[in-house]
Structures are given as C-alpha cells and as structure tokens.
C-alpha cells in the first residue's frame, strides 16, 4: 500500500464501469500514537467526472498498527481523480492529512488525454509565441475524437485557440497535437485542453503560465 505518514492507504477498485458504484478506502495507522476523532473523506477533483456521495466517514479511534476499511458510493461518468483527506487529533492536537490524487478509470473510453504542456519554461516574456502540446492515447479504435485548446487570460477572457479532429486513432496509438498562441497581457494564463469523443467530453487538463514584461 502507498503511504504518507501516519497512514498507509489504498483505494479499490481503481477501474469501474460508469454509473453508481462503490469504492473502498483501506487505511492503516503506521504511526506510534492513537489517532482520534477522524473525519475521513473521499474528495473529487472534478465532480462532473466522479462525484462522491455523503459527508464521509467517522472513526473515533485508530490505534497504532490498526487497519480499517471505509466504503464510499460514487457516481462515475468518466475517468477522474479523487483524494482522501483526514481531519482529526493526534496526541491531543488537531491535524490534517491528505493523499495525493488517485486516478479512477471509468468505463471503456475511446481515448485518454495523457498530458498537456506548454512547451516552455513557466515564466514567459510578453509577446513571445508559445507552443502547447496535447498527447492523446487511443484505448479503442475511434474516428470521432476532437481536441480543443482554450485559454483563460489575465483580462478574464476565455478564448478558443484551436479545434481539431484527430482522424482515426487506433488502440494504443499515441497522437500529439500542438497549437501556438502569443500572450498579449501580463499575468497568469490558464491553458485548457479538452478531448471529446463526438459530443462527450472525455478528457480535460490545464496548464498555467506566468507572463511578464
């Protein structure tokens, strides 16, 4: 099981079909102290993709070496990320703990958006063109994939940069698609890549850039 002190944790299953499903979170106290009043939650990092029901789970005590399993019902629409958080008391003092993001794969998507990067250092001079690259991997053979790039600017506009059909992408084939834009304002830009299978959005990633004079 992965660990981040004072917990070992595991979420299972990590592959589910779309719909209402159950996930189990296994937790083990690997510290030397009893942990008390634990508010154990499973949190979505995109509730459109995966939505977790309920207010979480309560554990009064978890002794050193003790293990427990908690169950959470989710509505699964597409592959997404969750993380576990625990708020409680250790040695009389409050503490907060959280796991890194845990990907849960949902259904049999046609493809996945593997990565999205601006091909530059993160601090960029104003007026320099920037190339963005999305990497898509086919999971089944598909002919309906579309990639879109958008940008949120420091002046609060949301602009489409590019929209492109990807043609036929076979299972396990990797496709890279790039686009270019030139920032016109100082500040933080948020770039978005969206992957669609027909009209269904099956992937979304963001990238941040800081633009200065």
């Amino acid at each position: 099981m992965p660990m981040r002190k004072p917990f070992q944790y595991a979420l299972a299953p990590q592959r589910i079909a779309a719909g209402q499903r159950w996930l189990s979170l296994r937790l083990k106290n690997i510290g030397n102290e009893t942990l008390e009043q634990l508010d154990v939650r499973l949190n979505s990092l995109d509730a459109y993709s995966l939505d977790v029901y309920g207010a979480g789970s309560y554990i009064e005590n978890l002794d050193p070496g003790e293990e427990t399993v908690r169950h959470y019902q989710v509505t699964a629409e597409m592959t997404g990320n969750l993380y576990a958080s625990i708020d409680g008391r250790q040695d009389g003092e409050p503490f907060h703990w959280e796991s890194p993001a845990i990907q849960v794969t949902v259904g049999q998507q046609a493809a996945e958006l593997l990565s999205f990067f601006a091909l530059t250092q993160p601090h960029v001079l104003l007026g320099n063109p920037i190339e963005c690259e999305a990497t898509i991997r086919g999971l089944t053979t598909s002919q309906r994939l579309v990639i879109e790039f958008w940008v949120e600017t420091p002046v609060r506009t949301f602009e489409s940069l590019d929209k492109q059909g990807l043609g036929q992408v076979a299972a396990d084939e990797t496709v890279r698609h790039t686009t270019q834009f030139t920032p016109e304002h100082e500040g933080i830009y948020i770039l978005h890549a969206y992957l669609y299978d027909g009209t269904k959005r099956i992937g979304h990633q963001t990238e941040y850039l800081s633009i200065s004079l």
């Binding site: 992965p2 660990m3 981040r4 939650r41 949190n43 979505s44 990092l45 995109d46 509730a47 459109y48 939505d51 977790v52 509505t75 993380y83 958080s85 003092e93 409050p94 503490f95 907060h96 959280e98 890194p100 993001a101 990565s115 990067f117 601006a118 091909l119 530059t120 250092q121 993160p122 601090h123 690259e133 958008w150 949120e152 609060r156 949301f158 933080i188 948020i190 978005h192 669609y196 009209t199 269904k200 959005r201 963001t206 941040y208 800081s210």
Partner: protein, 212 residues
C-alpha cells in the same frame, strides 16, 4: 456576464463565508436555436474545499435569448474552483458545454497559494535537478504559515521535498519559495504544494512534468 457561445453565464456570489451556502447561476441562451433537455450542473474542482449538493438542475427548454436563474447549495470550507456544465440538445443534436473555472473565495484566509511552477521545460531529462517555485500572497497580516512541497513519482512513492515556514507577509505582499527535486525515474511526476495556517490547509496546487 462572461460568454462562451452559446451560453452567457454568471455565478454569484463569488465570495462567501464558510458553511452551507447558496450560489445562483444565471444562464442565457445567446444563440438562435432552442436548447432542450438541459442537465445543468455546478461541479467542484476540489470537493474537500467546496462540495455541491444534489445532482443539478433540469430545464426542459431554453429559448433563444431566454435567461434563467438556478440555485445550488454548497458546503464551503476553503477557496476553490467550480465550473458549470450543460448537457442537452441543440438543433436535434446532443451538445456538451462547460464554463472555465470560476474561483469562489471562502472566508477570510490570511494568505493564498498564488502559483506553483516547476522551473523547467515540460520534458526534462532523467537525473536533472529541478527547482519548484511557489508564490504565497498575503491577504491579511500573517507569519509562520507552513508551506510543504511533495512529489508523487513514477515509482509511486510520495516524497517530501521541503517544509518551509513562511516569513511575515502584509496584505498584497508576495513571497517566493523554492524546493528542489532530482528526477531519477522516467515518467510522469506530479508536484504538490500545500499551504497550511496552523492545521488548516488553505492552499493546494499541483504541477506536472514528464521525465524522458
């Protein structure tokens, strides 16, 4: 109101106190087509910070230039992003629409984690040393916040890179903090920065790199 064709949208309020609160979403159909069978949802990008109750709103029809107000109840803990999705039919074809992220600030935090960047091109070479930079911005007078850097590695280990106590910050003042990592394995790394005020996590940012 911001616009992403064919929807004009506005979410209010954009600042709230902690607890169970209501948000209203105003949407307007700016196209010349009828939109029908609309599933309108407000989605959290971090449900620990803000969770949205219920499964959304349904609208049988939204005519051209028609505007509607929808209410959503949320449980607000700390500042975070939300976005709106609409799935429905337009001109006898299904469509999906979504807004960009909408930042909702919650309560009166003393500082915010303004950014996290890995100071590299996105595909660094194996064994290179990379500096990660976080910017903390003061919102109130603050001192001694805890800033942590972590890395989730391709070897599926979670490594603590640094734990830093922040210096005194006045409202509006920013401070940069760094941590270094030597990327020893090929594959995807996720870098995390967490900002804590005592035991309360008030900021969380991630950055991705792919080591070749």
């Amino acid at each position: 109101m911001p616009i992403k064709y064919p929807i004009e949208y506005e979410l209010k309020p954009m600042h709230m106190t902690e607890g169970r609160r209501w948000l209203t979403l105003r949407i307007k159909n700016t196209s010349t087509d009828d939109l029908s069978s609309l599933d309108v949802r407000l989605n959290s990008l971090d449900a620990y910070s803000i969770s949205v109750h219920g499964s959304g709103n349904y609208m049988a029809n939204l005519g051209p230039q028609e505007e509607r107000m929808l209410a959503f109840q949320v449980l607000a803990n700390t500042s975070s992003g939300l976005y709106v999705t609409i799935d429905g039919w337009r001109d006898n074809a299904p469509f999906h629409w979504e807004s960009p992220n909408i930042l909702i600030t919650v309560g009166k935090e003393v500082a915010e984690l303004a950014s996290l960047f890995a100071m590299t091109e996105p595909y660094p070479a194996q064994n290179s040393k990379i500096t990660c930079e976080a910017v903390v911005r003061g919102l109130e007078q603050s001192e001694g916040l805890q800033l942590e850097f972590w890395a989730d590695t391709p070897g599926e280990t979670l490594e603590e890179l640094a734990a830093i106590e922040t210096k005194a910050l006045a409202p509006g003042e920013t401070a940069r903090y760094g941590a270094e990592i030597t990327v020893e394995k090929r594959g995807a790394y996720t870098i995390y920065a967490y900002l804590y005020d005592d035991f309360k996590r008030i900021g969380r940012r991630t950055e991705h790199i792919y080591v070749t």
